[in-house]
Point group: C2
């Protein structure tokens, strides 16, 4: 009998794992169970189809079902795994006979947090996740005049921008004082709020959700700021790890509710790995467990967990979390954490910030780039960064996350060389300007 790996979940983590197993052990039997009709599409693209930036859903599919058959990966669609027995090394599939495995990879993803208010069973509440559902919702969007987005989470920010681009009167309701308050600083988000206003978005911050109102279908959202009439609600609450199967099987769950894994993505149960949004991963600097990372993280974790599940050897590391997303007319992003999170965690920092530009000041299309660097007092090692701009945010976020990981200091960044070519880069790189400004401030304050 060949080695058999069972994978529960068909998202980026699960399919990354399937590929990892096959790379490590080409003759392994790999079985994937998914509750959905499809695998191998990009859920991250859904908001952009709704917003009209991407013309259709079809192009979100990455591979045909045949491609998996050909790769020797046996995907079972619309199939639910209801239990795991880690001693017997079996999974129970749709209540039928247990299926045995040599190794198991859990890639069960996330659920949106229950808003926990009355009216949650009304029609017209859209939880963005599954592409087939999204295709149906997209038709419905053509009839929608007014929409409410619940919470300025990463998805909430994307959906707010997309619905506004689509010409729908969009209201954003969030209990925090500014959008993405758990990861982004208010100065980074201020231009985003401004550009939302230009797009006609109504923001309701410091506002608590009290309920969904309607007869059968939602007709209004009740909030601490009053009732907001609407035809649609996008529920973009916090992503919670879906660790139910693991928990029921006695596998160790962490403080965030995510499955605890080691650097091999192995859980507390022998032969059982977990990858993606159902896990928690330590932050590289603080060790604080994080969950709800990106599809890129899920895929990389999948490759690691799958490689190990296939008998190979691969490690995943603590994360430094480069992030970025369009928001209004801006792109925001960063690495590790910003001032708000540092303050909440009690982590002291010094700051270097600059308002730079993306091309030569005279080159058409030049855009502002604001860079804010947080460094450890004394050592001046970079511990976080936040940015708002339009060009080059993703590449700078990747770089700055790597700079945090390798302990680069403000001195190192202040002496960084940069490309100067009018169409693609300014004389002064904004990261270098921010580092120099931080050092200048310290000098003035007599602290360096």
């Amino acid at each position: 009998m060949p080695h058999k790996t069972v994978i529960v979940g068909g998202g980026a983590g699960g399919l990354g794992a399937a590929g990892g197993v096959k790379a490590a052990r080409p003759d392994a039997e790999v079985v994937v169970y998914t509750e959905y009709e499809d695998v191998a599409y990009s859920p991250c693209g859904i908001p952009y189809v709704h917003g009209g930036e991407i013309p259709d859903f079809e192009r979100l599919f990455l591979a045909t079902k045949d491609a998996y058959v050909e790769a020797g990966i046996d995907v079972h669609y619309e199939t639910r795994v209801s239990a795991i027995d880690t001693r017997a090394k079996t999974v129970t599939v749709d209540g039928a006979e247990p299926v045995g495995y040599d190794t198991l990879v859990l890639a069960t993803g996330f659920d949106y947090a229950d808003p926990g208010v009355p009216g949650g069973d009304l029609e017209g509440l859209y939880y963005v996740k599954n592409i087939r559902a999204a295709m149906e919702w997209d038709k419905f969007l053509d009839t929608v005049k007014r929409a409410v987005v619940i919470e300025a989470s990463p998805l909430g920010v994307e959906m707010t921008t997309s619905l506004a681009h689509r010409g729908i009167e969009t209201h954003l309701v969030d209990p925090h004082p500014w959008p993405l308050a758990e990861m982004a600083d208010p100065d980074i988000m201020a231009p985003v709020e401004e550009s939302w206003r230009e797009l006609g978005v109504h923001t309701h911050f410091n506002t608590t959700l009290k309920g969904f109102i309607g007869q059968g279908s939602v007709s209004a959202v009740d909030t601490s700021d009053g009732e907001i009439p609407c035809d649609l609600v996008v529920v973009a609450t916090h992503k919670q790890p879906n660790a139910r199967l693991a928990a029921a099987a006695g596998i160790t769950i962490g403080t965030t509710g995510g499955i605890v894994v080691d650097e091999r993505m192995a859980t507390s149960a022998p032969g059982v790995y977990a990858v993606g949004d159902c896990t928690e991963i330590p932050h590289g600097l603080t060790g604080v467990p994080l969950q709800g990372l990106t599809g890129s993280h899920a895929y990389a974790q999948g490759k690691t967990g799958g490689t190990n599940a296939g008998g190979g050897s691969r490690n995943y590391r603590a994360v430094y979390v480069p992030w970025g997303t369009p928001a209004g007319k801006w792109v925001i992003g960063g690495a590790s954490f910003g001032e708000t999170t540092a303050t909440a965690l009690g982590i002291p920092y010094v700051l270097g910030q600059a308002q730079g530009i993306s091309r030569a000041r005279y080159y058409p299309g030049v855009k502002p780039v604001k860079v804010k660097l947080l460094a450890e007092p004394g050592s001046l090692r970079l511990i976080g960064a936040q940015m708002v701009g339009q060009e080059g945010i993703k590449e700078r976020a990747d770089f700055l996350a790597t700079a945090v990981r390798f302990g680069l200091t403000l001195h190192d960044l202040a002496t960084m060389e940069n490309v100067y070519s009018p169409a693609i880069g300014a004389l002064n790189e904004p990261i270098v300007m921010a580092a120099n400004n931080g050092l200048d401030e310290l000098r003035k304050a007599g602290r360096s």
Copy 2:
């Protein structure tokens, strides 16, 4: 008497130095001599005005002459310094009485290498440098039907693209087998050559310049490939350090012809600094002296030299040379060196390369990004990189130059996290793909 710094040259290096002196010693007397009518404009923008990407020359000016007066920087325009006496600490200006200095900064820039062929005194030979001249040449370009660019240097590449964009029949003559052959690899330049062909450019590689032909004005270029009729020749030969003043004063000149400086940008003469294209700077890995770096390097060297000339303390480091430029419809770039240079220097390397993309594969505007990484065999430390793409090349080049400087390995880059957000970044970062491919190749070859 206040401290007096004299600066010879009004480009990025000279003005960076003027700012550096004033920052270190606000009451210093700072005198700048320039042979030209202007300072504080961006010569790097000139090709893009010729090409029509930038609508006019006026926007290349960075500051008014008044701004320097207000900053306490005394700029003497159209003024030539003809000699230096490093013992008497004086400079001779336009043959008049010697002018004393406490410290001197040489920022005398570069000259284009003399093509060394007959006909060099004909009209219609354009050496791109001075903005006033460029404004005159731009009017002439309206009458030009056919132009020849001599040498596929960085400027030659830019001017070839610009003239083609302007609708002029453009011929590029270069003695090497591919463009930018001294810094870029042929696989990186192949798409550029292809896109030039689409623009109607005629390339003549492996072709030697034999002379300029004409009666008064140039009417053809004579080459080893035959005569090329033309109305204009852009002479974009190698940039040579203009170190004549320094050499005549007995200051040490290096193997490239550039002024030798230490990390404070100090020359061999006490109190005399040199910055920018007139100097040579060691490459961070090899120690090989380099000259002809970018305006960004010149400006940073100026700040360093100026700070030290003003009595402050600042170091400049060996360079890892991030570079990038538009070329045809592509953007090319890299850091440190590529395969061609490594081979020429006898430096062994292993390679990791990948053809990636700049956004999610389904997101409109997605562009290819080819990344090639060179690493030291054994340690797998990054020693160079080359890229061709359209988006994010400058930011990746900055990052990769920093990665070379800090000794990051292919393993480090293969485990780099990256932003995944459909509009701004793909699931797999091309740098990470290239590093992983390199490691896979080594594994297959049994070398890691």
